[in-house]
């Protein structure tokens, strides 16, 4: 019992859980309309597409793959799917869109893994190009998505809960399962933690890293489809600026930017937290830009905490040691 308590205390999820809980409680108390099912369902719906992106980004980061092109990729996928759907069938649109997303992932992987270009800058550049492609494909205007599975998933509801939320949950469960319970997921974490060591241990590291980029790209593409379906129109500006939000959420959740440590549940909580913050601030008639400011500040704090954790110096790890009654264990 004591060990289990200690383990729970030391979990990297503690910080983000507390942050989410505190923000939910405060907003529910302070802002009258915040606690309604409808509003909470709204937070869920807003979180769905970002959350799907975050799941992909978490898998990628676990494998040591930094992909900053996710927002651009989402916009591009949405635009391509909408244009293709308008000319052929909605299903064809989805297939071609996701195919394009995956190709982007392959290019990212090749540039950063084969040519060892700094992943952050390379994928940022890719983001610019993808945004451009979205404008080219959609002729700089929105392309309507008025029927087909995208609209169903994007706009359908069970009670107050949109289908897209279920889609998000399924993606998150799947992503978490891959990372925790499959040998592939464990290999991704090994490669992300130290690719040279993983190679020596007999893991073929390149394919694993490629999979990281593809997971991220595919998730971004699906997020783009969700966005288009929800709005009923694919706009080239879609998801603009959300890469920062998604990465902040993932890092807030306890995933390491250096690879090897990743938690899908943490990312999900991170996304919910940032969206709660945003919605709460809007409803409280406080400038919603506080959300961006807090997000940036917490990003820095979160990265520092993960760094401390890998050195065994996270305050939570110290607390765990005290609970276990073995202070000597902590270096």
């Amino acid at each position: 019992m004591r060990h289990r308590l200690a383990g729970a205390l030391a979990s990297s999820l503690v910080y983000i859980s507390v942050a989410l809980l505190v923000s939910l409680v405060i907003f529910t108390v302070v802002v009258p309309r915040f606690g309604t099912t409808r509003n909470l369902a709204g937070i869920g719906a807003a979180s769905a597409s970002l959350g799907v992106m975050a799941v992909g980004a978490t898998l990628a980061l676990g494998a040591g793959a930094i992909d900053f092109s996710i927002a651009g990729n989402a916009a591009m996928t949405g635009s391509i799917a909408a244009v293709v759907a308008a000319n052929t069938s909605p299903e064809m649109g989805i297939i071609v869109g996701l195919l394009a997303a995956v190709i982007v992932g392959l290019v990212n992987a090749t540039v950063t893994i084969r040519f060892r270009v700094n992943a952050f800058i390379a994928t940022l550049a890719m983001a610019g190009s993808l945004r451009g492609i979205s404008f080219v494909v959609s002729n700089s205007v929105g392309v309507f998505v008025d029927s087909g599975p995208l609209v169903t998933i994007g706009q359908g509801k069970v009670g107050d809960i949109p289908y897209s939320v279920f889609f998000f949950v399924v993606t998150a469960v799947l992503g978490g399962w891959i990372l925790r319970s499959t040998t592939l997921g464990r290999s991704m974490l090994a490669v992300g933690g130290d690719s040279a060591a993983a190679r020596i241990a007999g893991i073929r590291t390149q394919p694993v890293q490629y999979i990281g980029y593809i997971a991220s790209a595919l998730a971004a593409g699906m997020a783009g489809l969700l966005l288009a379906g929800r709005a009923g129109v694919a706009v080239p500006q879609a998801a603009s600026g959300t890469e920062l939000l998604v990465f902040s959420a993932v890092l807030l959740g306890g995933t390491s930017l250096n690879g090897g440590r990743a938690t899908v549940l943490g990312s999900v909580l991170g996304i919910l937290f940032l969206n709660t913050l945003y919605t709460g601030l809007v409803l409280a008639k406080v400038s919603p830009y506080w959300q961006t400011i807090i997000q940036g500040a917490l990003l820095i704090v979160a990265v520092r905490l993960v760094q401390l954790r890998s050195e065994g110096r996270d305050p939570l790890q110290r607390l765990e040691a005290i609970v276990r009654g073995r202070m000597t264990d902590v270096r």
């Binding site: 040519f115 550049a125 190009s129 404008f135 400011i293 940036g296 990003l299 820095i300 760094q307």
Partner: protein, 331 residues
Amino acid sequence: MANSEPAAAQSGPAAGPRSRSLRTLRESSTVGLAAVVVLVSAVFAFIAPNFVTASNIANVARASAVFGIAALGITIPMIAGAVDLSFGAIMSLAAIGTAAQLSSGTPMLQAMAVGLAIGLGLGILNGVIATVLHLDSMIVTLGTLSVFGGVAFMITNAQRTYAPGDDFAFLGRGFLIGVPVPVWIMLAVGGSLALLLRFTTFGQRCFIVGDNSRAASLSGLSIARTRIAALAISGVAAALAGIVITSNDGLIYAGTGERYLLQGLAAVVIGGTALRGGTGTVVGTLLGIFLLGIVDNGLNLVGVPGVWQDVLRGLILIGALVIDRLRDSRL
């Protein structure tokens, strides 16, 4: 990697390609870049007759200068191993400060001083956070990009801030001896930064710290002081760039600066400054700025639509990064 393994004695003055000097390598890459600039110009001159007219050259130069000033600024911390991603947000925030002062009737120089002071302060803040938390400045400035950007949006409530005054407008729109004033400013900034790097021990410290910060620290050099100073310089340069843009447009919007993120980084990286730090030149960055400007303008004149330019810009940067790596591995 492999060639670090053997350690047998090498006797006598080593002959052959391995003893070639570092300076030759650096100079050859700058000359190579200059050749590319000339070549690209020649191609455009050939296919777009308007390219070589005086007014067009002035246009190219003016358009390049506004983000060029910021790009020159971030060259310094990048050489010192501190990537500054927040320069765009600093541009906006400093410009908003200046514009707000001008609107309330403050004299022009005083208003500009306010903007530059904001840039200085934010640059120092970046450096101090990175030092105190022992974090990579790329992470810190990614966070402060959100924070500064959020503040810019919050204080302006996402509205434009106008900057009145004909004297002030001269900075961005005027000509001096037939050359646009922003170009003079950019050349002045470039010149002083080049002198700073070449002729002060601070400049030399930047190279040392960027090359291997751990070794520099064990050699008794202060990483913190060098990097904070370098980030302060990029903060001031970003502020100046923001002020010039505001002068040119007559107004500033909170999101303006961040739009230059990619172009600014691209100019520096194309210019041969290593993302890891330790190598780089101001002349290289200037050539990078010209190259990006020429390509943009040339594509315009040739009739490539604006949206395609976004696509190409990203791909060109990725190409430059790949070439940079190939060159690096030859080294």
